[in-house]
């Protein structure tokens, strides 16, 4: 199994990692087509469409992190995951807070 150049049998990993990328390509392409398709066909009322494409976007971002950026739940690299989750928290607070305050201000100005 082990040779000099590839200890820990890294060599058979090639096929696995290639499949990983190709799975990622298939998943993200499907989610993209679904999001555009729903808006193109406009089968749902506007607010439903907005909700569905938002959920699809979150799923696709998770897929990008999982398949292309190789972030998973493994113990040896929790730091990266923690940093992403912390950044997500900051983003939710800043985006949510900004939208809340600006829409509230607008309502008061009317």
């Amino acid at each position: 199994m082990n040779d000099d150049r590839f200890p820990d049998s890294e060599l058979p990993g090639h096929g696995r990692e290639l499949r990983h990328y190709l799975t990622g390509a298939a998943v993200t392409l499907t989610l993209t087509l679904a999001a555009f398709g729903i808006v193109w066909l406009s089968v749902l009322p506007r607010y439903w469409t907005l909700g569905v494409v938002s959920v699809l976007a979150v799923l696709q971002i998770v897929a990008h992190f999982r398949y292309f950026l190789h972030i998973d739940l493994g113990k040896s690299h929790r730091d990266d995951l923690l940093m992403i989750l912390f950044t997500s928290l900051i983003i939710v607070m800043m985006v949510g807070g900004t939208i809340w305050i600006l829409f509230n201000q607008f309502a008061r100005m009317m």
């Binding site: 993209t32 469409t49 907005l50 990008h64 690299h77 940093m83 800043m94 900004t98």
Partner: protein, 210 residues
């Protein structure tokens, strides 16, 4: 076994590149911190856009009148394809000592990036010239050009970076420093695709949804 060798986000080079792999842990982590701050920047501009696209029209045209989906759809496919081709380049770097394959996949990625930027430039041109919707028309258009233009500038910067790396591969070969730079560029490139997912959803799809 190979999973316990994972030291950082993005593709890990692993034991076959032992020296580079060890250096990569701190290097990539530092770069990761920069990328997260970049994500926060994009998120906050997007939040401003969410407000301006509703309240900042200044009696000018809104998203529903200005945007169509064909070009953003093609741009989305281009970026997605470029993410996959960069993945192939990274696999060549990791598993094959084959400079030619690596360079060809990187050239394919850069070409897709350039076509993306050219299409975006065309979109901007037709907005300003044909639709009479330049950035100074309204708050909504200012933030639109800021947000999408910022993403386009990132793609241009990444393409220049790729060009520099291709020259370095030619001159120095695949020395550890060059490998580390390719690793960081690959993470940067994939992150730009993540940002684009947010842009096509919350700017284009949400803009034209009825």
């Amino acid at each position: 076994m190979s999973h316990s060798n994972r030291l950082h986000g993005g593709l890990n080079l692993g034991q076959a590149h032992a020296e580079t792999h060890r250096q990569a842990e701190t290097m990539v982590f530092g770069f990761w911190i920069f990328l997260m701050s970049d994500l926060v920047l994009f998120a906050v501009i997007l939040a401003t856009y969410a407000d301006a696209s509703v309240h900042g029209l200044a009696d000018g045209p809104g998203p529903a009148e200005l945007f169509e989906l064909r070009n953003p759809f093609i741009e989305t496919l281009l970026l997605l394809a470029s993410s996959v081709t960069f993945g192939m380049a990274a696999l060549h770097l990791k598993y094959q000592d084959d400079r030619r394959g690596l360079v060809l996949w990187m050239l394919a990625t850069g070409a897709l990036g350039l076509v993306f930027v050219a299409m975006e430039g065309w979109d901007f041109y037709s907005l300003v010239v044909h639709d009479d919707a330049p950035p100074q028309r309204s708050g909504f258009l200012s933030v639109f050009f800021l947000l999408v233009g910022m993403h386009g500038l990132h793609v241009i910067a990444a393409t220049v970076w790729m060009l520099v790396l291709l020259i370095q591969i030619g001159r120095f070969g695949l020395m550890p420093d060059v490998k580390l730079r390719i690793l960081r560029l690959s993470i940067f490139w994939h992150m730009l695709d993540v940002v684009w997912v947010a842009i096509f959803t919350f700017v284009y799809l949400s803009g034209v949804a009825r």
